[in-house]
Symmetry: C2
């Protein structure tokens, strides 16, 4: 679809290694991590911001649509080309050269193509890390473009909170480079433009470099499984933990019985940690952590956690039915196995929702009441980040059921779940996965017209070219 003249010109800009046109080599860039398959006209793999700028400028001038792609681990079709074969993928996977740690400033300047795992491995010797904890292993540019949150949001916040600066290439005819990088934490000298590019899936520009806040690595970690006395006791339990642990508390993750059962079923190497193997209706994984090595005479973190749980246990109207401290790696292993377990238990229709913290359990109860009547073939396998209001609300239908193959069934289910989440609970239809093609229809439905008009205006003043999978305007 893109003629040889363009391919030659782009090869001139990016070099032989910077361009992929063989169908076999392009496949990895055309297929999403879990969903989605498209067809790319070609794949551009620039190595520097200057190369991105030159390639983007060329494409905009010549009307070539661009899909920025980072680690390609997203779940909302935000980085894969569509089926037309007319779009060029611009991959960040070679933007890995820059890696400059500033120890005094606790910050990192890095290329947007570095993977989270590589970043944290390189930082380990300095006792620092980029504190976003995810199931996937994305590249930095995509983490910024989707504003990922993860399991330790409660303590460290999301990517937005930890982004000090970014460098962006705009999709205009010059491939304008906006240098919004900065090592500064306090800086109020105008509009904080970087915010416009964070969480917007590359629709307004391509992030090529970033400056990130780093945090001291935890050196002590303790975890416990908490069984709340009832769904209504989950919030009192969280508040009791926050009151007694403050900034020690680094995770407070909820796991429903169905999601735990699916994980144990799928991964037989996992230990079933519950008495008599009986999985409770709902379990919370609580984590506390400290950044220093254990000190002589200091109460161990396990013991601190036990003390706090005993205090809560003995309080009036105790929100706990059961609780036990256990090895962090085992407890997290189960938590991290939920996603795959649920995926293998049938056809998965996944929702990445968020609520006011106090509404999470109410929403889940509402769905448990309603689903058997409206969608009886569905099993609810929710889990999530109670501490920050995020819920991975997973619905599973048997693979051999008629519904599993029925596209309209999935659409009706999505419409219904989002309507309840957004309209009845003022919740979010995308907590931490951003928009992408997958959520486009719900953005269109739930966004007020003035906001869409403003987005269109913003597009015109930043990246008028055809960029990304999402239309905000």
């Amino acid at each position: 679809m893109i003629d040889q003249g363009h391919i030659a010109a782009l090869t001139g800009i990016l070099g032989d290694k910077g361009i992929v046109t063989e169908p076999g080599d392009m496949a990895a860039y055309e297929t999403g991590a879990r969903y989605d398959e498209g067809r790319a006209a070609l794949v551009l793999r620039p190595q520097t911001t200057e190369e991105v700028s030159a390639a983007v400028g060329y494409c905009v001038k010549n009307g070539i649509a661009l899909i920025p792609q980072s680690g390609n681990t997203g779940l909302v079709s935000g980085a894969t080309p569509d089926a037309t074969g007319a779009q060029a993928v611009l991959s960040l996977d070679r933007m890995t050269q820059r890696f400059e740690v500033d120890l005094d400033n606790r910050s990192l300047r890095a290329g947007a193509g570095l993977r989270l795992s590589d970043v944290n491995q390189k930082l380990e010797k300095h006792g620092l890390f980029f504190p976003i904890d995810l199931g996937a292993d994305p590249r930095l540019g995509g983490m910024l473009a989707t504003n990922t949150g993860g399991s330790r949001f409660l303590k460290y916040g999301d990517v937005r909170r930890n982004a000090l600066g970014i460098k962006v290439v705009l999709a205009d005819e010059s491939g304008t480079v906006l240098d919004l990088t900065s090592e500064l934490r306090k800086n109020n000298t105008g509009i904080d433009w970087k915010q416009i590019f964070i969480g917007t899936s590359g629709a307004f520009g391509i992030i090529t470099e970033c400056v990130l806040n780093l945090e001291p690595l935890p050196k002590q970690v303790a975890t416990a499984y908490l069984v709340p006395a009832s769904g209504a006791h989950v919030m009192p339990l969280l508040r009791a933990m926050e009151d007694r642990l403050g900034a020690y508390l680094s995770a407070f993750e909820g796991m429903s019985k169905n999601s735990v059962a699916a994980a144990l079923d799928h991964a037989p190497s996992l230990k079933n940690p519950f008495q008599g193997g009986k999985v409770p209706d709902y379990v919370i994984l609580a984590e506390v952590s400290r950044t220093w090595e254990p000190r002589e005479g200091e109460q161990s973190l396990d013991s601190v956690l036990e003390t706090v749980l005993a205090e809560i246990w003995e309080s009036d109207d105790a929100p706990l039915a059961d609780a036990f401290v256990g090895p962090a790696h085992e407890m997290w292993a189960l938590r991290h196995a939920l996603s795959e377990g649920v995926k293998h238990s049938g056809k998965l229709i996944a929702f990445d929702l968020s609520f006011r913290r106090g509404d999470i359990m109410a929403f889940c109860d509402r769905m448990k009441d309603e689903m058997p009547h409206t969608f009886p073939e569905v099993t609810i396998c929710d889990f999530g980040h109670i501490g920050d209001g995020g819920v991975h609300f997973n619905l599973v239908v048997p693979k051999d059921s008629g519904s599993a193959a029925d596209k309209d069934f999935e659409r009706r289910l999505r419409d219904r779940v989002f309507a309840i989440a957004v309209q009845d609970f003022n919740g979010s239809f995308s907590a931490e996965h951003a928009i992408g093609r997958k959520n486009q229809a719900y953005y269109d439905l739930y966004t007020q017209q003035k906001i869409k008009d403003m987005a269109q205006g913003l597009k015109a003043i930043t990246s008028p070219g055809d960029l990304g999978t999402v239309r905000f305007g």
Copy 2:
């Protein structure tokens, strides 16, 4: 300058209490907290978002320039009218009705006219607070519009980090209300538009309501004065404290000898805490805090701090020359007296700068070297927030010197200090006071043209009316 017809119409919208036209009554709205005096055509005092919307719509339609004003505690002429007497001040001081705490969510929905001190007083019984610690007592709308930081940024971040949502009235002919309020922490369903209004001094819209993150109140606090072995030891000292205290560490404030001496001089009730009354060249106030009541058998926080200081004291190339733990209220009293003390020691020319943390002391050294040659009448009285890179770089000239009365002297001094801070150190010319008329020339000088063009475009799609003191475009 505004005719009786307009006054009658605006009185019709806002009621008698909602409009001020008597010169005596307007004076408080025409005079800034420390600098600046202007003249208002009239003062509008709406009580609800709907009233703001109606009044703003009327003013835009009739070409009446609006200056939004919140607590009027800013230091950069961001909220006072100019000298023409043609501008209407729109004060938030009656927007105080809404105050809704969500304990489960740890969040507050509040009117933008509430003062920080009132908010925190009302929250105290819930064991929560809005964790921005400032010398002044602003109203919430202004805190959002300037993105204030303060002394505990190191632990809690700035206003931006703690803002979950805002409601904004745009300066267009309809007075469009943008409801960007939300109690959600994780929400990535489009552009995070609220970011555009945070830190931009009301140039793009008037914030009328907000939803804020709250934090558990500290129940234990311990403080120490640390004397670094030298300027070069300040960063190793900070890093040693961060490694050993993690999220306990809630402040790390630097105070120069001159600023401490000025405070002790101005406020004789303050105890001189230093041995023999000898103020060291540089002192750091470190604070650690915990959110729970002391537990039986738990090491006291004073003792934790002493343990940590002993560890640092005994380390190789120890960064400490002296250190002592003392009562938090006394130690903070001296810190909080610095600003007034410096102000009374002569004519103050103040700079609100920030740097990479590792550059703070280098910048101060550079200025100490240079100033005696270029501006010999100046005394440097710096203090600041070492933990986040902020420096209140205060220069004082004797009140009776020729320079004190010389406007051109001040301009030359500002130009020179900013040139070194911004050009040589990649620092910020406004760390936490935002722009305002006072910093407009430096925004114009140090902002790239593309960013100004984008700001102009943003203005057109949000608030085309004449709003605020700053021109970003």
